[in-house]
């Protein structure tokens, strides 16, 4: 059960990060003086995020064709620790983006870029492997890859839903209750927290690889 919970928790974590979308959606709503714009902006942002994660799922599935699960675990740990170390010292760097006059496709692409560049999908790989391993264990007779991919897609859907809920809650709370002033006091350094999270997950992935 724990990899599923992890997927949900990571969804909440990704959703909480102002740089991952809810703040963008909120600002568009404020600029156009419409609460509905906030909700309509969150959907493509969530879709872009999901697309970035699915791209990683496809990479994992493709990887499983060529290398063993054991090796994949080692590779994942190495990638996480590598990106986490890089981010630790460059946490303030973001993909270059300029523009607030954005449509749904722009938002989708923006969200995909941000999630990919910050390793949102990569952060999920250990949990995804857990989900896949669990599914393969239960349904060994239907072929490991197809049931594993189905389970992973379901996990991505749950992750995205969890992210969307948290993003929506953040945007709504700031929009209706707290006001923008809250940004001045409560905007912790999410970029640094993110780098630490990558390192933490990388550490767990390493332990999992060692444990086999």
């Amino acid at each position: 059960m724990s990899p599923w919970l992890a997927m949900l928790a990571f969804g909440a974590f990704h959703g909480l990060n102002p740089g991952m979308g809810w703040l963008f959606a909120l600002s568009l709503g404020l600029q156009q003086r419409s609460g509905r714009v906030i909700w309509f902006s969150l959907l493509p942002i969530a879709a872009g995020h999901a697309a970035a994660v699915i791209a990683v799922v496809l990479l994992v599935l493709a990887g499983l064709h060529y290398v063993s699960l054991e090796l994949l675990r080692w590779l994942t740990a190495a990638a996480l620790l590598g990106l986490g170390s890089y981010k630790l010292f460059n946490y303030y760097r973001h993909p270059r983006w300029v523009g607030m006059k954005v449509g749904s496709l722009d938002l989708l692409w923006w969200s995909f870029l941000m999630a990919t560049a910050h390793g949102a999908g990569l952060m999920l790989v250990p949990a995804l492997l857990g989900v896949a391993g669990g599914a393969a264990g239960h349904h060994g007779h239907t072929g490991p890859v197809s049931s594993a991919s189905g389970a992973m897609l379901l996990a991505v859907a749950l992750h995205t839903l969890s992210m969307l809920l948290v993003m929506g809650s953040c945007a709504w709370l700031v929009y209706r209750r707290f006001g923008l002033a809250v940004l001045r006091q409560k905007w912790i350094n999410f970029d640094l927290v993110w780098a630490l999270a990558l390192l933490l997950v990388g550490g767990i992935a390493l332990l999992m690889a060692i444990a086999g």
Binding site: G19, L23, F24, R96, V98, L180
Partner: protein
């Protein structure tokens, strides 16, 4: 930079920034126009009325080179760091980015250790600035959400255009490169600013380096060869979208002040002189066209010249028998309510209520210096040369500071009797109206002073992505 919480001087909206505490000191660009090899400097002026050194220069950071000609400068980061598409909330407003407009050198000055004893931490030498940016004579500095934007008056190849805009990296101040991808027929440059929420950048035209570096060229002015156009750019695609010609007689379109509230899509531009009647004018831009995809410019303020005896005028003005107002700077308060206009020729600072941007109302006026009047100040002895020039407004809108120098060589043409540098403060009535603060006068001696930057930000530094 590893701040846990955002820099406290960053505000999501202009309205919130008006609640900021009063500024306690200012950084002032000071230049030494003499031939004695003395370098320019950044001066720190005490603005705290409760301090023993109020209204005094408490520190002078001399630059290591001479002949830079400091002019405008800006902060490395400001409230635009909170913009949602590329948030960098944990940058700090810490470094002054100070270009030398004559040398094309850029100094990075750290104000964090002791804000009243700033230090140079990095110098971008001219060959690096020119080589990597493709431009020379850097001018306006604006802290963008994604980079530091700098306008430049000349191209890398010498004294001609095109001037344009280049970028500096937010974090290490390396020159990233030129900004424009498609510049159309834009050639002259000067100021720029933007409507961030609309992905629009606006730029104005002064002239080529050869038209200002050795002084105003009267033949070029009379032939209407200085800039008279304003450009609207797609900020996202870095492409020129529309150019508006104000008319050839409207010479030198200088400062641009877009509304601070991102939902307001208008702004103001100042024109120094109309060569037909010597008047100065303020123009407002706003959306135009069926879907609002174009822009238009309306002349909203016209300030006439003042007739004068030939004998009382400097050589440059004798043929005209009048003193032009010479509007050299304008500044808009953070609530978008009051526009301040410097009349560097006649020696006046005007305050207009621009709540209705197309029908400004003159609500206040102070007089000091001026080509004819040379009006003094309670704390200064005798007549004053120079006049209100670079204006800066406190974030709460209650105090306005200005200095008196325009540009070294031009100062000597319009004020040939040896101008001294000074800085003055004006107290503003929140309902409109203003008066000169009799207790604040900074005499910089033979040093000339230009742009003023206030501690924590002011009305011409920060850009806001969230409505007020």
């Amino acid at each position: 930079m590893a701040l846990w919480k955002p820099d406290t001087s960053f505000y999501p909206s202009a309205r919130m920034a008006m609640q900021a505490p009063p500024e306690r000191h200012a950084y002032v660009a000071a230049l030494n126009p003499g031939e004695d090899g003395k370098p320019d400097a950044i001066c720190v002026v005490d603005l705290d009325p409760d301090s023993d050194t109020y209204s005094e220069v408490v520190y002078q950071l001399d630059l290591p080179n001479s002949g830079d000609e400091l002019h405008h400068f800006g902060w490395n980061a400001c409230s635009s760091a909170l913009c949602p598409y590329a948030p960098h909330p944990h940058l700090e407003r810490r470094y002054l980015v100070v270009p030398g407009i004559r040398s094309s050198r850029i100094y990075i000055i750290d104000t964090k250790g002791d804000p009243r004893r700033p230090e140079i931490v990095k110098t971008l030498e001219p060959q690096e600035v020119i080589g990597k940016s493709g431009y020379s004579r850097p001018h306006t500095v604006h802290c963008g959400p994604d980079a530091i934007y700098v306008s430049a008056m000349g191209s890398k190849n010498g004294d001609d255009g095109p001037g344009g805009i280049f970028l500096l990296d937010h974090f290490n101040f390396d020159v990233t490169g030129p900004w424009e991808l498609h510049r159309g027929d834009q050639e002259l440059a000067y100021d720029f600013w933007w409507h961030l929420a609309e992905d629009v950048l606006v730029s104005s035209e002064w002239g080529k380096p050869s038209q200002f570096e050795d002084g105003l060229v009267p033949e070029d002015l009379l032939a209407n060869k200085y800039g008279h156009r304003i450009h609207f750019w797609d900020l996202r695609r870095r492409r020129l979208q529309q150019t508006i010609d104000l008319g050839r007689e409207h010479q030198m379109v200088l400062e641009l002040r877009p509304a601070h509230d991102p939902t307001r899509q208008y702004g103001f531009a100042g024109v120094v002189i109309n060569t037909e009647d010597l008047s100065a004018s303020i123009w407002a831009w706003s959306r135009d066209g069926e879907n609002g995809e174009l822009w238009k410019m309306d002349k909203v303020i016209s300030i006439p010249a003042v007739a004068a005896e030939e004998d009382a005028l400097p050589a440059a003005l004798k043929p005209f028998k009048a003193v032009p107002p010479l509007v050299s700077d304008i500044d808009l308060s953070l609530d978008d309510r009051f526009l301040y206009v410097s009349c560097w020729g006649t020696g006046e600072l005007h305050q207009y209520d621009v709540s209705d941007p197309f029908n400004p109302r003159l609500t206040g006026k102070v007089e000091i210096g001026g080509i004819l009047n040379r009006r003094g100040h309670p704390r200064a002895e005798g007549e004053l040369l120079g006049a209100p020039q670079m204006v800066e407004i406190s974030r709460d809108g209650r105090r306005v500071y200005f200095t008196n120098s325009l540009y070294s060589r031009w100062d000597d043409q319009f004020y040939p009797d040896g101008m001294r540098g000074w800085m003055v403060k004006v107290n503003v009535d929140p309902d409109g109206g203003m008066e000169i603060d009799p207790d604040f006068f900074v005499d910089f001696g033979s040093t000339r002073v230009h742009q003023v930057r206030l501690e924590g930000g002011d009305a011409s530094t920060d850009s806001y992505c969230y409505p007020s």
